[in-house]
Symmetry: C2
């Protein structure tokens, strides 16, 4: 359905037609429409949805829309929506909406649920605990497959997934997992113990989401269990939430690599002053670091005033150094994120970047030597630029290759060793190489 | 198990102990060990594994290891491994290993399978066709739930997933989907038609993987069907393959954004000359684009020779401009990838980057004005640098914000409008602003 069409229908007050057309859409598509509408239209449309799909649509909405709706509808209506949400969606909502809405939500939950919610809110952000859901199917190992299937039929309807079931003992200790596929394909008289997998890979509630993503990718699971310090099963993590985490972490990496404070908010919904604040801090740090280049240039000002041609090639040399360095650092940062590169590969990286730097340096140096010699007819400058490029490319490749690995080793995020910082460093070294070679050739 | 420990056991020829210890591991973990061993050790260990886990381990290995093993083991052994693979793993293998191994593999397949393999190899790379698997469960809508479950029990064992089943008519046209959850939780006398979802979101074999990723994220499905031009069901795509695609596309984005030809090979396994080749092309293009800065600087050489202090601040100004521009372009490129930003937002982006650029420019300009005026005691230079930073930050933010959107509109990959190209452009504009302001203040 087109937004324009929808707005026309609203104007013409054809509400039953709107209702009919909305119900033909999937919840994610309805949410996409509502995200684009104005606040009072949203509430109007939202009230046209039946309770259960209203809840589902609500989950898909932007947090701004969720807040607006929560403020505009009655407390009773809000309770109905919240009641239909599954537990981890409830937690996500509470973590994001403003405090006054949180109060409204908590008022309408049972004491037991409130305790559970508080426990969840205490898990560190980005930990397995904050990512998991408590809606899983638990079985006992003594059960027959038939009994297990009966239990699944009885309690399965409200569970996030029934495709992996968890076998626990009387103390809730995780003893194994069994998939619905195994249950369905098994003889009904077998016991769960006979068909379950006893060695289970699980997370601890405090495990960091980066390690969660890595294990999911490694083992291709759809869900993985989360246990507490006593090995008791407390929740499960599902692949669809892991996909969201992957996107979020990637976005943060991109932002850190462009020298910004990371944030998972959408660009268009961040106020300009906030966006400027997140960007300006690193810019100031980098700008003041760049003062080093001022000293280097000033120290060699006799060269640049005597030989004006030197000033002309400085920007090109610096940008080539920066580009070469950022290629290396990008490759290494990404390799570290994906786990293909480890600290043990340190010397392999140096060897590889050395070779690559030499090849690139000689290619770029030769091209520029020929250009300046043949076209500008300036042999001395051609020699200076050619040699500088060899040195710069080599040194930039090494710096870009080494710094992210060192950052990782000393527990910094390697992503900060990306283009901006690397090019600030290569700018200074490029100038040093350039002035040294210039002095030798010209003086 | 530690690699060192494993190597010791091999040296001591304790093969039955090795076998026992290996079988306690998961296939993904065994593969991780084998990826680190030498070729002949790999084959030795590989032969210690039972047939079915050997196959699974094989899928997890790097392509270099797969090739080595295929070359060293007998044709009969290879056939046994290949037979155990599921169809889409077979296709993946054939696409990656060298031609002589492909021949070996194809020799041992039936004519029917060979035809199917050829059909698969003809789908464009990165299309739904090349990503899908043909191992799904199909049902008929007239079946009762009981009959459907019987069919699943009969054919389910070799299917990639049984959790979503596909309802097709006699001409294989897709009529609906039904999940195992729905089947298990339903009354056994109901028909499949009564419980299936008839409006199915499906892909066409030629759909591009970017749109596949977007739909999976939007709808949170575990599998989605692929149909041909006549709406006949030809395969399914599963979420674990989508996760791999997400990682691959992100890696390519990172590489393109650092001005490299993208490749999904692992850094350490790419030969240096090839890596250099992939990197040098863009470096040359950017280097020659940077010649513009040479012209600009030469045109203003009277300024730089007369006022040597100007040369000193050039690097800092250019790097600040580049950093500001690349922050903007990174935010926009990522937003375009995630679908949060569209071409229609063009003017919103301009407005936002205008505001952000002004705030950043005034902050950076003021700081530098004060530094140069108070510390270096040079009011004229302080004014020049301060004003240049305001102009540069504003212009860089706008360029970085606008170019990726335009690139997307004219069907270029927005990722090429990242730091390297943006900073080459901002270098030139920064110098123009700088020299213009310098001329006004100094002359």
């Amino acid at each position: 359905m087109e937004i324009k069409h929808l707005k026309e229908l609203i104007e013409e007050k054809k509400f039953s037609l709107i209702q009919k057309e909305l119900l033909e859409l999937r919840e994610a598509d309805i949410a996409e429409l509502l995200n684009e509408m104005e606040a009072k239209e949203v509430v109007l449309l939202f009230r046209l949805l039946p309770k259960n799909s209203a809840s589902e649509v609500f989950v898909y909405l932007d947090v701004e829309r969720q807040t607006e709706i929560s403020e505009l509808i009655s407390e009773h209506e809000l309770k109905e929506i919240i009641d239909e949400l599954c537990f981890d969606d409830k937690i996500d909502l509470i973590e994001e909406v403003p405090a006054n809405i949180v109060k409204k939500i908590l008022k309408n939950t049972t004491t037991k649920e409130r305790t559970l919610i508080n426990q969840f809110l205490n898990y560190p952000e980005d930990s397995a605990g904050s990512l998991m859901t408590i809606e899983f199917v638990d079985l006992k190992k003594e059960m027959t497959v038939e009994k297990a299937m009966e239990r699944i039929r009885r309690i399965g309807i409200n569970k996030e997934t029934i495709y992996t079931c968890y076998v626990t003992d009387t103390k809730r200790k995780l003893e194994g997992i069994v998939t619905l596929k195994e249950l369905v394909l098994s003889d009904v008289d077998k016991t769960v113990e006979e068909i379950m997998t006893a060695e289970v890979i699980s997370f601890n509630t405090h495990d960091d989401q980066e390690s969660i993503v890595r294990k999911f990718k490694k083992y291709d699971f759809l869900t993985m269990p989360v246990v507490d310090l006593e090995d008791r099963l407390v929740g499960i993590i599902t692949i669809d939430d892991v996909v969201d985490v992957i996107e979020e972490e990637t976005t943060e990496d991109f932002q850190r690599m462009a020298a910004m404070e990371p944030s998972d908010e959408e660009y268009l919904s961040i106020p300009s002053y906030l966006l400027a604040k997140r960007r300006v801090v690193w810019l100031i740090i980098l700008m003041f670091s760049a003062i080093v280049t001022e000293f280097i240039t000033k120290t060699h000002s006799s060269l640049t005033t005597e030989f004006a041609m030197l000033v002309g090639v400085m920007p090109m040399l610096m940008s080539t150094g920066g580009n070469t360095g950022s290629q290396s650092s990008t490759l290494i940062i990404r390799g570290l994120t994906l786990g293909n590169i480890k600290f043990q590969d340190f010397f392999k990286i140096i060897a590889k970047e050395f070779k690559v730097g030499i090849i690139i340096g000689i290619s770029l140096g030769t091209l520029n030597f020929l250009r300046i010699w043949l076209i500008n007819n300036n042999l001395k400058l051609a020699i200076i630029v050619g040699l500088t490029l060899v040195g710069t490319a080599l040194m930039a490749a090494l710096i870009g290759g080494i710094l992210p690995v060192i950052a990782k080793k000393i527990k910094l995020d390697p992503a900060i060793m990306a283009t901006p910082l690397i090019s600030t460093i290569t700018d200074a070294t490029t100038l040093l190489i350039f002035f040294t070679i210039s002095a030798v050739v010209l003086l």
